[in-house]
């Protein structure tokens, strides 16, 4: 494939995934600027290697890379004794298909950040405020039916994300 199509694909992925990936990183490194730096670094490396042309599941690949970058950052920092390595688990890059406790928060923030604006607003209102569908409908001046549809959409997106992470694959016992 020539450079132009790579650049186009790259730009599209960058715009689509930048904010969600930063939200993911933010939940691990707990610093906005640092999260952005790590994601920027990752994209620079991916651009140089044209890595995105080769991967089959870009989303899964990107999430794993960001996670690795965050863990790597903590590892190097901890050697220099700048940031204590408390609470950052250092396993994580295995191929298992289970969702780990420490992955839930980053993944959920990535997920919410990637939702279409309206779906996201409904989803966050419901999850964070515990409002009923009716209360959300009044708050957002939409119908209860729309709230229902949006919540269903959010849940379906969640399933798609889990599937893309190979988390729904059941590994058979041989």
């Amino acid at each position: 494939m020539d450079d132009l199509s790579h650049d186009e694909l790259f730009k599209e992925i960058f715009h689509g995934y930048y904010s969600p990936l930063c939200n993911y990183a933010l939940k691990i490194v707990r610093n906005n600027a640092l999260a952005e730096d790590l994601v920027q670094q990752l994209f620079l490396q991916l651009y140089e290697k044209k890595a995105l042309l080769k991967v089959v599941q870009p989303e899964r690949y990107l999430l794993r890379c960001v996670k690795f970058k965050c863990i790597d950052f903590h590892r190097t920092k901890s050697i220099k004794n700048e940031i204590p390595l408390n609470g950052i688990p250092d396993r994580s890059f295995d191929q298992s298909s289970d969702l780990k406790e420490e992955d839930i928060e980053p993944l959920l923030h990535y997920f919410a950040s990637k939702l279409p604006p309206k779906t996201r607003e409904v989803f966050l209102l419901s999850r964070n405020s515990g409002m009923t569908y009716k209360e959300i409908a009044i708050e957002m001046d939409i119908s209860v039916k729309t709230v229902e549809t949006q919540m269903g959409r959010a849940l379906r997106q969640m399933k798609i994300l889990l599937k893309a992470q190979n988390l729904l694959t059941i590994i058979p016992f041989l």
């Binding site: 730009k11 960058f14 715009h15 930048y18 904010s19 930063c22 939200n23 933010l26 610093n31 906005n32 600027a33 640092l34 999260a35 952005e36 730096d37 994601v39 920027q40 670094q41 994209f43 620079l44 490396q45 651009y47 140089e48 969702l99 839930i104 928060e105 993944l107 959920l108 923030h109 997920f111 919410a112 950040s113 996201r120 966050l124 419901s126 999850r127 964070n128 009923t132 569908y133 229902e148 549809t149 919540m151 269903g152 959409r153 959010a154 849940l155 379906r156 969640m158 399933k159 889990l162 988390l167 729904l168 059941i170």
Partner: protein, 314 residues
């Protein structure tokens, strides 16, 4: 096929109809792993999204790229001095906020069952509370103290996840109930608090007197202003409000009706002007109300009239 996801969302919010619950159950059986993962993600709280601007980021990316060094000029380092100044301000603000918070006491959830059905509420520690209609519980947003404290008004059945380090403590009108992990029912009003144990061990302490008692399965105690009264026999139907299972043995009809009403949403009304000399022996397991009414009618020879939303015993 019907789209399961909106239904699943309603199910997670405990807002699904019985028909929808059946669809969810079927889905859960077919996709146990998906259900479990969605459940976990769906029930995480405090989602705060930060808007990172991809347009600006792209400009920065292009300028970094043209440097050809594959090195990001860090935002993080440049911000440190500003951050130090900001930190002083933030710490000040945070102290004030924290002080206000401490004065307010911990944040609490209040769950009130205003509906007509039993309400099932799962707590953060995995314990489950079934609230009878008109009852309420309140508990802190996080069980982060040495005990798991819950306040109860009315009636509830508790299934407590065992955690020896953090005893589960229910405070009701007349007693404090302390357990490690067990299942028990508490029925409380202004006059008395009744505790009945299904499994495990439960410690009940009186609020007014310095007395306490340890209850074992199928034991019960009544706490009043005067202290604790232990009972050797328990009411067979102490959990009927939740299970819909009734067992009556020569029970006066007035008591039968009062018990039935705890499950059948106050659908039976006795004519207060009349005395009924009838004792019922019967067993019901979530029987439809009209069947229950028929049996009372036949056994006691009473005339029972049907109205739009209730039966009247005359």
């Amino acid at each position: 096929m019907e789209d399961i996801y909106p239904i699943l969302a309603k199910h997670f919010l405990k807002d699904a109809t019985i028909e929808e619950e059946a669809l969810v159950a079927e889905f859960q059986r077919a996709n146990p792993k998906e259900y479990q993962l969605l459940y976990t993600l769906w029930h995480s709280k405090n989602i705060k999204i930060h808007e990172f601007d991809p347009q600006n980021a792209w400009k920065r990316f292009v300028s970094n790229r043209s440097n050809r060094s594959a090195k990001v000029i860090p935002l993080f380092g440049n911000l440190r001095r500003t951050a130090a100044i900001a930190a002083v301000l933030i710490i000040g603000a945070f102290s004030l906020w924290y002080l206000a918070k401490v004065l307010q006491g911990p944040e609490r959830y209040i769950v009130e069952n205003k509906g007509n059905m039993t309400l099932e509420q799962k707590l953060d520690d995995g314990s489950v509370v079934w609230l009878n209609k008109g009852s309420s519980i309140s508990y802190p947003k996080n069980f982060d103290g040495t005990t798991r404290e819950i306040k109860l008004k009315g009636e509830a059945f508790f299934e407590v996840i065992e955690d020896v380090q953090h005893p589960f403590v229910v405070t009701a009108d007349h007693s404090t109930i302390t357990v490690l992990g067990t299942a028990f029912n508490v029925n409380s009003d202004k006059q008395h608090t009744e505790v009945t144990v299904m499994s495990g061990k439960v410690q009940v302490a009186s609020m007014s007197k310095d007395t306490q008692i340890v209850l074992l399965p199928n034991q019960s105690t009544l706490a009043t202003k005067e202290g604790l009264i232990s009972r050797n026999t328990i009411d067979q139907n102490y959990l009927s409000w939740k299970t819909g299972q009734f067992e009556f043995r020569d029970t006066p009809i007035n008591n039968v009706v009062a018990k039935l009403n705890t499950f059948y949403r106050d659908s039976l009304i006795m004519d207060p002007g009349k005395e009924h000399d009838c004792f019922l022996t019967a067993k019901f397991e979530q029987a439809p109300l009209h069947e229950v009414v028929d049996i009372i009618k036949i056994t006691c020879g009473l005339s029972i009239k049907k109205y739009a939303d209730h039966y009247k015993i005359e």
